[in-house]
């Protein structure tokens, strides 16, 4: 009954011969909403890419007790070439697999699916535009649509709140809350203050992984986890996380 979607056991991974992530273990359950935090270069992205199978596994193993789930992925937008001539419609459609191997165009039903999601996201007026003409928030939205169009059971988001304004951030979080009813979410962020009210649990990744089974975390705990994240990076609301923690 309580089988995890993904079972990560003592994995290490990295680039070429350099190990970035060491002896990390984590179970992801179907309705989890895990915030993955940690310093830059600490291995957050490496962890999610290893789960996605696009980064080699050096040691340990990753298993899927419920069968390999469909995964949706939103990469770091800074890694994307925004001048590439691809339209919003094509981008979102690229999240759908081809039904015919030797003629991999989208079926009519799949095209309708793309239009429907574009409509729900409010991107329809921009559908024929190249991604380079969109604002930061609109780009994130388009990439999120690409990630979820396949109805994944595991959604992985790498820094979805960079380059976006506050109003979009709110919309994004509302969206994620709704999606979380249907799928497990892994949300990578260096900005723990913003994500902590939304996530259910936290994984601190800095070479090693420490799982924190709550969305409340303090500087002391982060110190114990050897996970230096700046909690005061939020301008007018310093120690916001600490405050919220004290409330409860």
């Amino acid at each position: 009954m309580n089988q995890p979607l993904v079972k990560i056991e003592h994995i290490s991974s990295g680039y070429f011969s350099e190990t970035v992530l060491k002896d990390a273990s984590l179970n992801i359950y179907p309705n989890d909403f895990i915030g993955i935090i940690g310093p830059n270069g600490g291995g957050k992205t490496t962890l999610v890419k290893t789960i996605l199978g696009i980064q080699p596994l050096f040691t340990g193993k990753i298993t899927f007790p419920l069968g390999r789930p469909a995964m949706g992925y939103l990469p770091q937008i800074s890694q994307i070439d925004k001048s590439f001539p691809i339209t919003v419609r094509e981008l979102v459609g690229s999240g759908l697999g081809a039904k015919r191997k030797w003629f991999p165009h989208l079926l009519k039903s799949q095209k309708t699916q793309v239009e429907k999601l574009l409509g729900e996201a409010g991107l329809l007026p921009l559908a024929s535009r190249p991604i380079g003409e969109l604002s930061g928030g609109q780009i994130q939205k388009a990439f999120l649509c690409r990630a979820i169009i396949n109805n994944p059971s595991l959604l992985i988001l790498d820094e979805p709140n960079t380059f976006v304004d506050k109003s979009f951030e709110k919309e994004l979080y509302r969206w994620l809350e709704e999606l979380n009813r249907k799928m497990a979410i892994l949300l990578v962020s260096h900005d723990i203050g913003t994500i902590s009210p939304m996530v259910k649990t936290i994984a601190c990744v800095n070479v090693n992984l420490h799982y924190h089974p709550s969305n409340q975390i303090t500087e002391d705990i982060l110190k114990v986890y050897n996970c230096p994240v700046d909690l005061i990076a939020h301008g007018s609301v310093p120690h916001r996380v600490l405050k919220e923690h004290d409330h409860e």
Partner: protein
């Protein structure tokens, strides 16, 4: 005017025009991929590396284009392999390949006994001497490439744009990347016939950037680039014929001039557009 039409009576001229149009279509498709993926420099490396094959083929008494094709395909797949491994500085590897290919070519041409009459053709192209057999080969390759682009449009675009995501989607990324490396290499070698090694790359870039002044939609860039390339190469052939100057170089000069004029047109149109509503607003 009668002189203008009378040149069409010559088979060599009709062949040249047909070759220019087909090369334009081929370069439009492959060039759009090259420019979108920002691998113009890689393509330059492939082009120049192919000269090594030309020199070696001369020395061995084989068809120089065969030698060029083999060298181009090996260097293209080699660069793709290096960039996938990622732990070698790709730009340095390309620079080495670029000059090594030329060096090998020069040495073998030097060692080949006697005079090498067509050498200038490879360096600068000679579109006015294209034969019927070459034209058929070009047409066949153009058709195959168009079919490949049409059928596999989505995976081609997706693997070029975001290979990691394509891998997650289960697309055979390596297959499409290598297939495109081979197509790029062969397209370049086939187009060398028209404008030569030194100039060929501009046929794969200038019409594309001209088209991209109007659209940033991959699907629309291809036909628009084909139009600009065709217009440019046909105009280039006419100019070269009537002014009695080399065709390849004339085509490239014309393409560049065309790009600048179009760019100027787009800039001034945008400026007028910005000025227009502004005036109304103030008034």
């Amino acid at each position: 005017m009668s002189e203008f039409f009378s040149i069409f009576e010559y088979a060599f001229f009709r062949n040249a025009i047909a070759s220019a149009l087909l090369t334009s279509v081929l370069a439009a498709m492959v060039g759009t991929y090259i420019v979108s993926r920002k691998i113009v420099f890689i393509s330059g490396g492939i082009t120049h590396a192919s000269f090594g094959g030309i020199g070696m083929a001369y020395f061995l008494g084989l068809n120089p284009f065969l030698g060029a094709a083999i060298f181009a395909v090996f260097s293209a797949t080699g660069i793709e392999w290096i960039s996938k491994k990622g732990n070698v500085r790709e730009d340095s590897a390309i620079a080495i390949l670029w000059s090594l290919g030329m060096a090998v070519g020069i040495i073998f041409v030097f060692m080949t006994p006697g005079y090498t009459p067509d050498l200038m053709t490879f360096l600068f192209g000679n579109i006015l001497s294209v034969t019927m057999a070459e034209l058929i080969l070009l047409a066949a390759f153009c058709l195959l490439t168009a079919l490949f682009f049409w059928i596999f449009y989505r995976p081609l675009l997706h693997t070029a744009f975001d290979p990691e995501f394509s891998q997650i989607m289960g697309i055979p990324v390596a297959f499409f990347r290598y297939a495109m490396a081979v197509i790029i290499a062969l397209s370049i070698v086939i187009s060398i016939r028209a404008v030569g090694i030194i100039l060929v790359l501009s046929l794969f870039t200038i019409p594309q950037i001209t088209a991209m002044l109007f659209t940033r939609d991959f699907r629309k860039i291809i036909p628009l680039a084909a139009f600009w390339a065709a217009l440019g190469s046909v105009m280039g052939i006419f100019l070269s014929y009537f002014l009695n100057i080399p065709a390849g170089a004339t085509i490239i000069c014309y393409l560049t001039l065309q790009f600048l004029l179009v760019k100027l047109f787009v800039i001034s149109k945008d400026a007028l557009k910005r000025q227009g509503p502004g005036k109304v607003h103030k008034g």
